[in-house]
Symmetry: D2
Subunit: 352 residues, 4 copies
C-alpha cells in the first residue's frame, strides 16, 4: 500500500530525470527494506504494508509524495505527519520527502511510478486542478492504473472533479474511491479526522485499515461525488455557525456585555461545540493562525451554494454567510483562519 | 424565601376576595408548617427557607403562583417543577398550585401578599406585559416591596421591561435582580438551566443558594438589562445555528445524501452540539413537540436585531434567519418547537 | 383653512406669554387681512381661505407653525415653502414664521389656538413623539378640536401613532385624516409630492383643494394607518432599489467597467427611474447632500419589516437591505442622503 | 454582411450533407439575388449588404441560422424578426429559416460556410455551450475565419466564454466583438434593445450601421468580456429590483392595502420604471408569459455573484435575491417570466 499526496500543479513532465519540464524539482529513487509490523492485532492488519514509495514534485514549495508503511507505529506516525502537513498550509510537504526517505522510503519518479509499484495509491492534493493533474497529466496515475489497482483521492474537490477522476481510473480498469477528510489541523494531529468515502465499496473495505489509522471514523456514502458533497454540506454548516457566533460576539460586545462571559454561557448551553470552545478564546485575542484558511471556507460555501443551485435549493443563511466571508476576503483576511470572519463582522461596526 | 411565578396577564384587581376584578380566579390563604431541612450541607443552606407562599392568578388556564421551601430535596423538586412547568407551554401552572398547597404551601391573595410575607420573591412570567402587570398592577409587587425586600424576575423580557421593573422596585426602596434562564424543557427537568442575572449584586449573592438549585450555573452580568441582553444574544446564536443546520439537512437530502449519516458525521465534528445531537433525530422524524416554541425563537431574534439596531450593528445572518423563522410562522409552525424551521426550509423546495 | 406644521418636541407649556414652559420661544399674535384669490378657476376654490394662523414653537432651531391662505398663487407659494422647509432637514422652519407673518399671517400661541380659529388644521411634524406632542400635550390640538373641526396630520409616522392621534381627535368629536407625503426635497420644491391620505373620507374630500396644491396627486387609502403603511411600503421598495443599484455600481467598478457608462445603460433600460437618474451621477461624485436622510430610510425599512412581522411576512431582500443601511449608520453616514448606502457597499470592498 | 444565429448545442458534425453527426438536421444551399437598398441615407449604409447566408441546425426545435440583408426596410424587418425570435423562447427559430429562404436567403451548410461567404458574421446563441460549439466544433466559425473577417457574438454569455471565443477568432487572424443585447421581448419587437459591445473597436465601428438597426443604442465598453459583465450587472440590478418590488407588493396586500393603488403610487414616485409599470399590472393578474424566463434571470444573478466572488465583492442583496429566485425555480416557475418571483414571495406567506 502506498500513498501519493501533496500539493502540486503541473501541466506536463517527461519521464527522465534530465529532461523533465514543469515543477518536478527532484526525482530520486531510493531502495529500502521495510520492517514488518509485529505483535499487536492492529499491526497484523498492516503486515502487507511493506513498501514505501513517494513522489515529490515541488511547486512553490509544495510537492507531491507517496508513502507506504512498515509497522503500525511507524505507519501511524507517517500518516499523521502526512495529514498534518497537508492541513497545515501553505507548503505542506516541504522537507517531508527527505524525512521519509531517511526513514527508508523509496522516492518514485512520478505518480505513475508510485502506482506501478503499489496496489492502492493514495493522493491528497490541494485543489481540483492539482487533483486532476496528478491523475491525467503525463506521468500521472492513469499511465499505470489497471485492473487490480486502486486509487484513493483524499483531496477536497467538487463532485464534478471527483467524477472525472473516477471515470478516468475506471476507463483503465482500475477502481476508485474519493475519501476527503473532515477536520483541520488539530484533528489531523490527534487522529480525529473523519473520512467521507464514496465510490467503489470493495476498495473502501480493503482500505479500511489504512483509513482507520488516518481518521477516527470513516463513512461510506455511496456513489462517487457523495464524499465531496457531504464535505461541502458539513463545511457549509460550519461556516454558517462560525458566522452566527461572530455576529453574537459582536452584538454582545457592542451592547455592553463581556464577550468572555458569553463564551462561558455558550459553553454551558445548547450550542456548545468544539468549534466555539476551540476558536472563541483565540478570536477574542485576534489570534487567527490558520487551521482552515478563510478563503477555503468561503470557497466551500460557494460550492455548497452551487450544489444547492443545481437542485434549486434556496439557502438564505448560507448565501448571507458567503457574502460576509467574501467581505472578509476583501479585507485581506483570506489566508487567516476562517474564524477571522469575526473581524469582518466587527468591521461592519467601525466608525470612520 | 418565596417564589412568585407563572404566566399571567391582568390589568387590575382589587385587594378583597369578594371584589376582585380581572383574571384572578381563586384567592385562598392556607396556613402551613414547613419541615426544616436536615442532613446534607446543601440542606443547611436552605435552613431559613421555612415558608411557602403562592399566588395563583388564572387566565386562560395559566396562573401565577409562588412557593418557598422546607428542605433541600423538597425545594429542589418544587423548583424543578416550577421551571419545568414554565418551560412547558402552554398553560404551565395548571393544577400546580393545588399540588403545592397539598404539600403545605400557603396561597397568597396576590403578588403583594406574597411579597409582604417574604424577604425575597421570585417571579417567572411569560412575557413583558405579564412581567409588568405582576409588578405594577393593583395587588402587584410594588404595593409591598420596601427596604429590606428583594424581587427577582426570572422572566425572559427585553431590557426595557427589566429596566422599568427595576426602577419601580428601587423607587419603593427594594432591591431588584433580573435573572432569566437560558435553556428549555429538558435542561429545566434535569437542573441544567443557566441563570443570567443582573442588577443588585448583594441580592444576587444572597439568592445564590436558590439559584444554584434552579440552575447548574449562574452568571452575574452587571447592570439591569444585561441579563436580558445576554439571553437575546444566546438565543439569536441558537436560532441561527438551527437555521444553518436545517439548510444543511435539506441540502444533504436533496443532493442524494442520507440525512441520518449527516447527523453521524456532524456528531463527530467541530459543530457537534447538544442542540444538533438533541434535535436532529427528532427533526428527521418531523417531531416538533415544543421545548422552545418557534414563535418565541423568532421573537428573540427580532429583539436581538432591535438591540443591534440600537447600536447600529449589521447582522446579515441573523436578519436572514429572522425572515426564515417568519416564514415558518406564516406556515403555521409558530407553536411547534423552533426546530420546525426545518420544515420551512424544506418547504422552499417543494414543487407545486 | 389653516396649517399647523413643523418640527417640535415639547412636554407641556402654559397658555400665557409670560409663564410658558418648554420650548416655545416666541408667541405672538399678529392681525392681518388676506387677499382674496381672483381670476383662475383654481383660485376660486380657495376663495374661502382667508386667514393665516401660525404657531411657532422652537426647539433646537426647529419650530411649529401654521398658515392659511389668501389666494392661489400665494397659497401655492407658501405651501411649497412649507413642504420644502420640512423636507430640508435639519431645522426646517427656522425663520419661516417671521416671513409668513411679514406676509400677513397671524401667529397663534399654541396649536390649540390655531385649531380654535380654523376649520381644518394641518400638522407636519418630524417624528412620532413630535406628532403626538402637538396633539396631546398642554396647548395641543385636543384642547380645541371639536365637532365641525378637522385635523390633518401630514407627518410620516407609524400606523400606531396615527391611530392614537385619530382616537384622540375622534374622542373630542373632531374628524381626522392622516396624509403623509411621498417624495423628498426636489419633489417638494416642484410640487411633485404624492399624498397618501387615510381616515375620514369627508375630511379628505373637503381638503382636496389644499392637497392638490401641495402635491401633484393624492390618494385616499381607507382606514387610518393605511397612509402610514403605504408610505412604509413605498419607502421600503425605494431603499431596496437604492441598495441594489449600489451593489451594481460597485460590481461594475470593481469589475473594470466604467460606472458612468452603467448609468447610461441603465437609463435606457427597464429599471430606469427618477431615483437612479437623479441620484446616480451625484453618487459617483460622492455627493450625498441629504434630500432623505439615510437614518430615516433605515428606520422606514425597519418599520416595514416590523409591519411584515405583524403579518408573518418573510422579506429577505428588505432584511438584507436593512442590515446594509445599519452598516452605513455605523460608518457615520446616517445624516447624509440615503444614497450614501453606496459608500457602505463600497466599503465592504476596501482592503486594509 | 451576414448573420449567424440561433439556439443550438452540438458536439461535432461533418462537412458533408450525408455524413453529418449531431444535431444538424437540414443543410441546404439556396442561391438568391438581393435587392439593393435605395433612397434614404440609412439605406445607403446598407448598400453593401447584398447577400443572405443562413445556417440552420436544429436541436429540440431550436436551430442556428444566418442572414444578410438587401435593403433597409427588409434588413430592419429581418433583424427585428431575428431578435424577436431569439428573445421569445423556447424554440426561437422554428420555421424562421424557411421564411428567410423564401425571401431569397441562401442557406449555408454550416457556420463555417456562412463565414466563408461573409465579411462579418453575427451569432446569437442561447447559452455558453452553444456559443462555444458554433465557433469551435467541426464546421464551426474557426474553420473559415481569417484576416479580413470578423465575428460578432450577440449571445449572453459569461466573460470567460467570450474570452475563449475571442482568443479562438484572433488565433486565426480574425477580429472579434462581443455584443450581447440588454432588453427582452418587447424591446426587441420595438427596436429598443441596447447593445453592449466590447472587443475590437474597428469591428465595432464597421458594424455600427447594423447594430443601429437592431438596437436603439449601442455602447462600446472596451476589452472582450466587458459586454458580458455589463449585461450581468444590469440584469442583476433588474432582478433585485423585481424582487424588492415583489416584496413590497406582498407587504401591501397582506397589510390591507390595495396593490393596484400601490402601483399607482409607485408610478408617480422615484422608483417608477418601465419594469414596474410594465410588469406590475400583469403580476397582479398572475400573468407571467415569459419575456425573460425566470431561470435565466436567476442564472444571471448567479453569474453576477460569481463575478463579484472573483473580485471579493460582497453583495448581500443580490445574494438574497438569488435565493428567492432559486426558490421560485423550485416551485416550478423557472420557465415563466422572471416577474413570477412574485409568486415565490407570496408563497412564503401562504398558510398550510
Amino acid at each position: 500500500m502506498l500513498f501519493l499526496m501533496g500539493q502540486v500543479r503541473w501541466t506536463s513532465y517527461s519521464n527522465g530525470l534530465g529532461g523533465h519540464e514543469g515543477n518536478i524539482e527532484h526525482m530520486r529513487h531510493v531502495g529500502q527494506n521495510g520492517d514488518r509490523p509485529r505483535g499487536s492485532e492492529k499491526a497484523r492488519i498492516f503486515e502487507d504494508l511493506e513498501q514505501l514509495e513517494i513522489t515529490r514534485i515541488e511547486e512553490n514549495g509544495g510537492g507531491v509524495s507517496g508513502f507506504g508503511n512498515y509497522g503500525e507505529g511507524h505507519f501511524h506516525e507517517l500518516a499523521a505527519k502526512w495529514i498534518q502537513s497537508h492541513c497545515l498550509e501553505p507548503n505542506p510537504l516541504q522537507g517531508m520527502c527527505d524525512e521519509l526517505v531517511a526513514h527508508g522510503a523509496t522516492l518514485g519518479e512520478s505518480p505513475a511510478e508510485v502506482v506501478k509499484k503499489c496496489k492502492i495509491t493514495f493522493g491528497m492534493l490541494s485543489d481540483p486542478p492539482a487533483a486532476l493533474s496528478v491523475v491525467f497529466d503525463n506521468g500521472g496515475v492513469l499511465e499505470q492504473i489497471c485492473p487490480g489497482k486502486g486509487y484513493i483521492d483524499m483531496s477536497t474537490v467538487d463532485p464534478e472533479t471527483s467524477t472525472k477522476i473516477s471515470e478516468g481510473v475506471i476507463s483503465k480498469g482500475g477502481v476508485f474511491l474519493e475519501a476527503p477528510v473532515s477536520g483541520s489541523k488539530q484533528p489531523a494531529e490527534t487522529g480525529q479526522l473523519i473520512i467521507l468515502a464514496a465510490g467503489e465499496k470493495a476498495l473502501y473495505d480493503e482500505a479500511i485499515p489504512a483509513l482507520d489509522v488516518i481518521g477516527k471514523k470513516s463513512f461510506f456514502l455511496g456513489q462517487v461525488g457523495n464524499g465531496a458533497k457531504m464535505k461541502l454540506v458539513v463545511n457549509m454548516i460550519m461556516g454558517c455557525v462560525m458566522n452566527s457566533f461572530s455576529e453574537g460576539l459582536v452584538l454582545a460586545e457592542k451592547s455592553g456585555l463581556n464577550p468572555h462571559t458569553l463564551l462561558d454561557v455558550l459553553d454551558l448551553g445548547a450550542v456548545s461545540s468544539p468549534l466555539i470552545r476551540g476558536k472563541g478564546p483565540a478570536m477574542l485575542q485576534s489570534n487567527y493562525s490558520p487551521a482552515f484558511p478563510l478563503k477555503h471556507q468561503q470557497k466551500d460555501i460557494r460550492l455548497a451554494l452551487g450544489l444547492g443551485d443545481d437542485n434549486a435549493i434556496s439557502m438564505p443563511i448560507a448565501a448571507a454567510a458567503n457574502e460576509t466571508f467574501k467581505k472578509a476576503r476583501s479585507l485581506g483576511l483570506g489566508d487567516l483562519d476562517f474564524s477571522a470572519v469575526y473581524e469582518a463582522v466587527k468591521d461592519l461596526q467601525r466608525s470612520s
